[in-house]
C-alpha cells in the first residue's frame, strides 16, 4: 500500500495529463461497447439501454434469416476480397518501381504527386466520379463516344460498381501507402546489392532475392492489418456511390446498418449486424496473425 502511494504520488501529474484521453476513451469508445447490449434487447428509447427488455438472439436470427443477408454478406466479402487482391499489391508494385528509379528528383516528384489524392475527401472523390462518368457531360463518355461506342451510365449500372470502387480506392491511396514500403526498402543494407552484383545477379534476381525478402516483414504486417478490415468497407464512399439501381452489388453491411438501423431507427437490429461485422473482423485478424506467427515469425503480437 505504501509502495502504491509512492508510485501514485510520483506519477500523479502524468496521470493528470492522461486524464482527458482516458475520459475520451471511456465516453466515446468503451460506453458504446457496452451499448452493444441493445442488440440482445428490444431497445426502447424511453427505457434506455439498461432497462429495455431482453430478447436474446431474436435480432441475430432475424438478420440471418432475412432475405437480404446472403446478398449483403456476398457484396461485403467480395468487395473486401477484391480490395485486398487488387488494392494490396498496388502500392508494393509502385514502391518497387520507384525504388528502381535512379534519378532522385523523378522519384521525389512522382512520390509527392501520387500522395495528393489521399487527402481529398470521399465526398469530392465520389462527386468527381459522378461528374467524370456522367453519361451526358462526363469526360470519360466523351472519350467512349469518340471511340465510336455509345455512352455508358457507369454510376447507375450495378456491373461497374465493384470495379469503380476498387479503382478509385487504388487511385486515392496507392501513393500514400508506398511510404511504408519505401522506408522498408531504404533500410535494406546496400552491401547486399553490391554482393549480388559481384555474383552477377541481374536486376530481376536482385529483386527476388534481396529486395523482396528485405521488405517481407512490412508486407506481412500490413497484410494482417488489411485482413482485419475485410468486412470494414469504407462506409462513407460506398454510401455516397450508392443508389437504388445498384443495390444488388453495392449494398454492403455498413450501408444496410445505416439505412435500417439509423434511418429507420431499428437500433437493436442494426447493432446486431454491427456486432456480427466486428466479430468476423476480429476473427479474421486473429487468424491471420496466428498463421503468420506460425509460418513467418512476423506478427502483430
Amino acid at each position: 500500500m505504501a509502495l502504491f502511494r509512492l508510485k501514485f504520488n510520483r506519477s500523479k501529474y502524468l496521470l493528470l495529463l492522461f486524464l482527458p484521453a482516458l475520459v475520451y476513451y471511456i465516453l466515446f469508445k468503451y460506453v458504446p461497447m457496452f451499448g452493444i447490449l441493445i442488440s440482445f434487447k428490444d431497445y426502447n428509447p424511453f427505457k434506455g439501454i439498461w432497462h429495455s427488455d431482453l430478447v436474446g438472439l431474436k435480432y441475430y436470427e432475424m438478420f440471418f434469416h432475412s432475405p437480404d443477408f446472403p446478398k449483403l454478406l456476398k457484396n461485403t466479402v467480395l468487395l473486401g476480397v477484391y480490395k485486398v487482391v487488387f488494392g494490396f499489391p498496388a502500392p508494393i508494385i509502385l514502391a518497387l518501381l520507384l525504388n528502381e528509379v535512379r534519378k532522385g528528383i523523378v522519384k521525389r516528384l512522382v512520390q509527392s504527386i501520387s500522395y495528393l489524392p489521399h487527402f481529398i475527401s470521399n465526398v469530392v472523390v465520389v462527386s468527381m466520379m459522378f461528374l467524370f462518368l456522367s453519361p451526358t457531360s462526363g469526360l470519360v463518355n466523351h472519350v467512349v463516344e469518340w471511340m465510336g461506342y455509345s455512352s455508358i451510365n457507369f454510376m447507375q449500372n450495378e456491373n461497374y460498381f465493384r470495379t469503380l470502387y476498387i479503382l478509385s480506392e487504388i487511385w486515392q491511396h496507392i501513393g500514400w501507402e508506398t511510404i511504408i514500403y519505401l522506408a522498408a526498402l531504404s533500410a535494406i543494407d546496400p552491401q547486399l546489392y553490391e554482393a549480388a552484383t559481384v555474383d552477377g545477379a541481374s536486376r530481376w534476381h536482385q529483386l527476388r532475392h534481396v529486395t523482396l525478402p528485405g521488405i517481407m516483414p512490412a508486407i506481412v504486417i500490413l497484410f494482417i492489418l488489411n485482413i482485419g478490415h475485410v468486412l470494414d468497407i469504407g462506409f462513407e464512399k460506398v454510401l455516397l456511390m450508392l443508389n437504388p439501381s445498384i443495390y444488388s452489388t453495392a449494398d454492403v453491411l455498413s450501408t444496410y446498418v445505416f439505412r435500417t438501423g439509423i434511418q429507420a431507427m431499428n437500433y437493436s437490429y442494426g447493432t446486431a449486424i454491427d456486432l456480427f461485422t466486428s466479430v468476423v473482423n476480429l476473427l479474421f485478424i486473429l487468424t491471420a496473425n496466428w498463421i503468420s506467427r506460425k509460418t513467418s515469425e512476423t506478427s502483430l503480437w
Binding site: 482516458l22 475520451y24 476513451y25 461497447m33 451499448g35 528502381e100 475527401s121 468527381m128 454491427d274
Partner: protein, 288 residues
Amino acid sequence: MKPKFGLFDVILYVVLFAVAASALYPFIYMIAVSISGTVPVLKGEVFFWPKEFNLNTYAAVFDNPEIGRAYVNTIIYTALGTAISLIVSAAGAYSLSKRDMLFRNGFMVMVVITLFFSGGMIPTFLVVKSYHLIDTIWAMVLPGAVSTWNLIVMRTFFSGMPQEVEESGKIDGLTDIGIFFRLVLPLSKAILATIGLFYGVAIWNNFFSALLYLRDADLFPLQVIVRNMVLQGSGGANGAGNIGGDSMIVDEALKYATIIVTTVPILLIYPFLQKYFAKGALIGSVKG
C-alpha cells in the same frame, strides 16, 4: 560503372508518368472547366487549358449563402477540433511514453483494444445522442477526437526523446506537466505539425459525423453541401442555367468550381507539408 538505360527503364518511366498524371490531371481538368466560358464547355472543347477565361462560376459559388455559411462552419470545426484532438492526444501520448507511470500498461491495452474492436455505428450514435451532442458543434469534434493511430505515433516519438530533457526539468523543479508544456512540446514542433495536419484534414473532409449527428442545416459543413449540390443535383437542370444578369453558367462548371473551392485549402497546404506527412507516417511505422 553506370548501368545503361534499357527497355526496362523506358517502361518504368512511362508507368510512373502515368501514375503521376492520373493523380494530377483530374484537378487540372476541373480547374480548366471551372474557369472557361460557357460555349467551349458545352461543346466539350476544354481538356487542359481554359478557353474564354472568366471567373463567373466562382462569383456564383461565393454568392451562394449556403456555401459561405458551410465554409465558416467547416473552418470552425477544423480549428476547434484540431486544437482539442492535438492537445488531448499529445498529453495522453506523452504520459503513455513514461515507463514509470502507474497503470501505464493497463491504459496502453485499453487504448490498443479500440484498434481492433469497437461498439459500432449505432451504439456510438445512441451514446452521442444521450450526451445531448446531436445538432451541436461538439458532435463534429468530440466523438472522433482521438485517433488511436495518431496517439501511438506520438507516443513512439516521445519515447525517443532524450532522457536529459526530463532530468533537466526535474532539476529546475518542474512537475511532469511543466516539463510537458515548457520543454517537451517546444521540442516536438515537427510531430505536432504532422499530427495536427492529419487531424485537420480528417475533420475538413469529415462527412460521416455530419451525416450521423447533424440535422440542422445551419450547422452543415462544406462536405454535406457538396454532396447535396453535386450528388443529389439540386444545382438546376442539366446544361446551362441563368444565374443573375446575363452571365450564363454551365451546371457542370459550377459543380467543378464548388469542388475546387472545397478542396483548395488542402491543395494549398499540400506542397509545403507533404514532407512532414511522410515523416510522420514513418515514425508510426516503427514498431514500439
